[in-house]
Symmetry: C2
Subunit: 358 residues, 2 copies
């Protein structure tokens, strides 16, 4: 009987668990002392750069057999529960609860927090600016649909800083009004989504026309109106328009992700592996972009993202959203920014924050 062999092993596990439990609480008592020191100086409860360092360190030191990413999940919860002894951090996010935004909150802060679901991206900013929430989590970019414009607009105006980023995998499904492909004559989706699904579509729907539309949400709306149209979109969009799923997970790239940023009054210090987000504008779009960015190259600062966006607000035709490697306190970043600021008509550091783990 295998239970005879299992019993001594389970006793070993129980004994290890008791030791882990003891250490967890010893850690919590030290964390409480940290809390007292912080309270004396009004220092923030949540220090993203410190937590990022701890998560990197345990992954680096991990001897196995546990998988490093799983160890990080465990330590994220350990830090979350220790932090909660000082105070449960309140985090506003784009509700409703039970969506990817809430998952992004847990992925950044662990589960020992107070989530505050908000009805709109604007409300997440307001709740965080007003201090109702310590932090807000908002979507900023979707790898198949591009930038979330409302977030970009609000980042220009807010007094809050970006203090972290989180990315969450997203999945696309082929959906129709009937839930079958009977009578379907075209498949609609955003062009990037169609591109990501092309291997699957070539194999499974070779004869059907593909039409690129403004967004996957728009494709879902069209499929709801027209029984000859199929949409490729997230299933939440499909639910909104009452579509049936023909086939789930049709994208070729399993790494399709939505990126969220964490916003707050906190400005994290350097963690050693950081990123800085900027918003810029120049009076004359055509000639000035190259000159604008020259200081980054000169000072050896790598740009990891560059996006231009027509201005809806303010004086300029275009805003440029730029992510660079490094922290604004890093010497070379600081020097590059000083020159960049001189070249720009509008210059705003949106925040420096630890690189996300995934």
């Amino acid at each position: 009987m295998s239970d005879d062999k299992l019993k001594p092993l389970r006793e070993q596990i129980d004994s290890i668990d008791a030791q882990i439990l003891e250490l967890l609480n010893r850690r919590a008592r030290v964390a409480e002392q940290v809390g007292h020191v912080k309270a004396e100086t009004n220092a923030p409860v949540f220090r993203p750069e410190r937590e990022a360092q701890v998560l990197r360190k345990v992954a680096d030191m991990n001897p196995g057999p546990l998988v490093a990413a799983d160890v990080q999940t465990i330590f994220r919860e350990i830090m979350s529960s220790c932090r909660a002894l000082e105070r449960r951090v309140v985090v506003a996010y784009l509700g409703p609860p039970g969506t990817f935004s809430e998952q992004a909150v847990y992925q950044q802060f662990g589960h020992a927090i107070e989530g505050l679901p908000c009805a709109s991206i604007d409300e997440v900013f307001r709740a965080t600016e007003a201090g109702t929430a310590d932090f807000g989590v908002v979507p900023v970019e979707n790898s198949s649909e591009g930038a979330i414009n409302r977030t970009l607009d609000l980042l220009l105006q807010t007094t809050l800083s970006i203090s972290g980023e989180v990315s969450i995998p997203v999945h696309h499904s082929l959906m129709t009004k009937s839930g079958t492909m009977d009578g379907i004559r075209r498949i609609c989706a955003h062009s990037q989504t169609l591109a990501q699904c092309q291997v699957w579509l070539n194999l499974n729907c070779p004869g059907i026309e593909r039409v690129a539309v403004a967004s996957n949400g728009e494709a879902a709306r069209m499929a709801a109106d027209d029984p000859t149209t199929a949409a490729i979109a997230g299933e939440i969009a499909g639910q909104r328009y009452n579509l049936g799923v023909v086939k789930a997970h049709v994208q070729d790239d399993p790494h399709n992700r939505t990126r969220f940023v964490v916003i707050g009054r906190l400005q994290p210090g350097a963690s050693g592996k950081d990123k800085t987000s900027l918003a810029l504008a120049v009076p004359n779009k055509a000639g000035a972009v190259y000159n604008l960015l020259a200081p980054l190259a000169t000072h050896g600062v790598s740009m990891t993202r560059f996006e231009s966006r027509p201005a809806r607000t303010g004086t300029w035709d275009y805003y440029f959203y730029v992510d660079v490697e490094g922290h604004q306190q890093d010497e070379k970043v600081d020097r590059a920014f000083a020159e960049l600021r001189q070249n720009s008509a509008f210059f705003k550091i949106l925040g420096s924050y630890p690189l996300s783990l995934n």
Copy 2:
């Protein structure tokens, strides 16, 4: 400067973290040996009764200052990642990803698993019966809208057993087409939801008629059709019908929950604190219910849930869904069931499983 005081404390924490990391991997190595023993006898990777016992034990032994529920969250992830070294358990659930069903999956299995989102409750059963998934997670009951009928129907027919339960808090919002209360003449929701929100409604909407409808989803649909109607419903229903949120979290009872069951080929052993779910039918509804249930009282078995439901399938007018305290292997439960089975025209044990922690 507070950083001078923090540094030695952080060094203590780093040293404790290194010890925790070492113990976690020592635990993982013992878990690998458990896996080898199990593989010899084809024993299941996931033993819900064993995991429930570990979670109860660490909560009972927890000396603090950590909160017991937070310690359980940490240990759930520890067990999940150790289990993943044998094999990542595949869990089917009612998709799309990013919903409460997915949260229920993580709450039962931790994050080190493979989730399989399905388009319908039927598909979750099929994927689990076919062995594509090791387990399925389906909603069975909502504290404001009652039973999920499709799940109850499928439980009657399936060869799978219930091996666990999970409950997740749900929130209701007041929503309208415009997102404001301008011109609203009535508020619709399921009667239980109206009852749960009555304190808030009396204070905030004293003059507005309240109308009980079949479900909160139906209320949301009505509000989408009629600009004078407001709905109280989950925000996911509101999103589906493009409603605006007037006020989030209007229910008086913060413990409003959706209950999920875990289904699988596995039949868990007794964990010490268990529940057993039954489905029963008797030929003549009116007279026979009391007699039907008498054996439970005789043998001192507590009934924690009793629900009748008109039969859509099969020979009987009504099916009764009964939950009792204890495991089917417990002597008094076994005796009571033997008599119950004689009284019933239809008798099926849906499963014995550990009581949920929350």
